[in-house]
């Protein structure tokens, strides 16, 4: 298998479709495999990898049902702790935003709308960085990697999610963070409807607690 990315928790492999699913067909699949950790005892290691693999599968499917484009799940192997899913081809939004002439309001708003759809479905993504968003050639936005996601309908969890987005934007896209966040929050409010302000307000509070990085709060308004 061709290693695509090695994270702290899992490895991603890119494979031809037919190698994995034994059917004719073009395209490629991504295999996400949660690797065993030698530092912890087997009982804990297996329990964690098993519950997280099945949770992530559920989150990806439920997100799709909520109107957020996510990779199609082809197979789940709870013995090998693998998820076989659709390979979403295209640049990460991280790369798109690095273009100095970037000013795609609609994309920014759609990011906010996607987050609102997740939140309304009771899901928080848990890792809203622009590396986990992919823009396909056809201009479709995908959210990938729900490895840190959970079902949590609380204002606090949603606030953390928005805060993570802001932090991620600040660390990589400090020049356009104001623009991107403003439009994303506009999309979020539009899609979430009543209660969106409470979540945004909470994100602001979380930032003020000093738990996280930045001190400026003007971007929230």
């Amino acid at each position: 298998m061709m290693l695509m990315k090695k994270g702290a928790e899992a490895s991603l492999y890119l494979e031809p479709f037919e190698n994995v699913l034994h059917t004719a067909g073009g395209g490629k699949v991504v295999i996400k495999e949660r690797i065993p950790k030698e530092y912890r005892i087997k009982e804990i290691d297996e329990k964690l990898r098993l519950s997280r693999t099945s949770l992530e599968t559920k989150l990806i499917s439920d997100a799709k049902r909520a109107g957020v484009k996510t990779p199609a799940i082809y197979a789940v192997d709870l013995g090998k702790m693998r998820i076989v899913m659709e390979f979403i081809d295209g640049p990460q939004v991280k790369k798109v935003l690095k273009n100095p002439r970037f000013k795609d309001k609609k994309l920014c708003m759609l990011i906010g709308k996607y987050i609102a759809r997740l939140h309304k479905a009771g899901i928080v993504h848990g890792d809203l960085t622009t590396s986990n968003m992919i823009l396909t050639e056809r201009g479709e936005l995908y959210f990938v990697d729900f490895g840190l996601g959970e079902y949590n309908p609380s204002v606090e969890a949603r606030g953390v999610d928005l805060h993570l987005l802001k932090r991620a934007l600040q660390s990589v896209h400090f020049k356009i963070v104001d623009f991107v966040l403003r439009e994303a929050l506009r999309g979020y409010e539009e899609e979430f409807g009543a209660g969106a302000r409470d979540v945004i307000k909470r994100a602001e509070d979380i930032e003020k607690r000093g738990r996280y990085v930045a001190k400026e709060d003007r971007i929230w308004h």
Binding site: G7, A8, E9, K37, E38, Y39, R40, I41, E43, I44, K47, L48, G126, D127, L148, E150, V160, L164, G210, R211, Y212, V213
Partner: protein, 331 residues
Amino acid sequence: MVNMLCLGIEGTAHTFGVGIVKSDGKILSNFSKTYVPEKGGIHPRDASQFHAANARAVLDEALTQANVELKDIDLVAFSQGPGLGPVLRTASTAARALAISLDVPIIGVNHCIAHIEIGRLTENTKDPVTLYVSGGNTQVIAFDTGKYRVFGETLDIPIGNCLDVFAREAGIPHPGGPKIERLAKEGKKYIPLPYVVKGMDLSFSGLMTEAVRMTRLKKDLRDVAFSLQETAFAALVEVTERALAHTEKKEVMLTGGVAANTRLREMLQVMAKGQGAKFFVPPMELCGDQGAMIGWTGILAYKSGSKQKMDETQARQRWRTDEVEVTWREK
């Protein structure tokens, strides 16, 4: 001043300590006394009274061991926070009195950062991801653009507190940590306990409650101790690993009182190896709370231009690691 002498005063929780450190990094002395409650947990007022009653003796012993006199001191540093209010006020009062009578500058130091800095000094690490675990704190910390950022931390009780309370509830005498470790070594059967990692943060209160419940159900104490350690430490190591992968740093450091635990060390060592990172633990006498770390961090801050006025020296109970401008490290 070519080689200045700093007297560091630590007082945030149980321990009152005085350390005398030279600006070339030499620790001349490091003496402390620790308040042990007769029963139950720490009482802030009793602890502060213990510190006040012992301050003079600790100071004298530190001076004697360093073979210096008070007039040789060029700078007074103290633990300004975070910690228990009454205890912090005792330490800061002692520091102010000393600085005024000696007519030398005073500097308040962040306790958590002092733990990292003394480790960086003795272990000669450049830029570690630090797991700081004690009775009062549980944080995964890494330096980034001018500040020590908290990548993950406990959302409720610190791991050291989790172990202490469990020990007390299970009838294990103080100090609980080493005894839990000994029991855990004989444990064989893993009893499933709540494992809570939320994003990069940790939670131990549910784990503690459940472990206590297991002892009430008359489960073998050795198995419970084993399961408690394995569960809590796996969560700590997981968050540290994530921070390491995220920051792409090549060093891991363990410090704080819980660093004494050999199983935790072993697990971090294995994780670090897997991530291609080096693993460090400062000598145990510098992992716990003591004055030398305060003195050394005071020197770092002072030499990089930090100055403090007397009216800026009030105790800061909730002073966060990531609020401190780290003037002594390159952005």
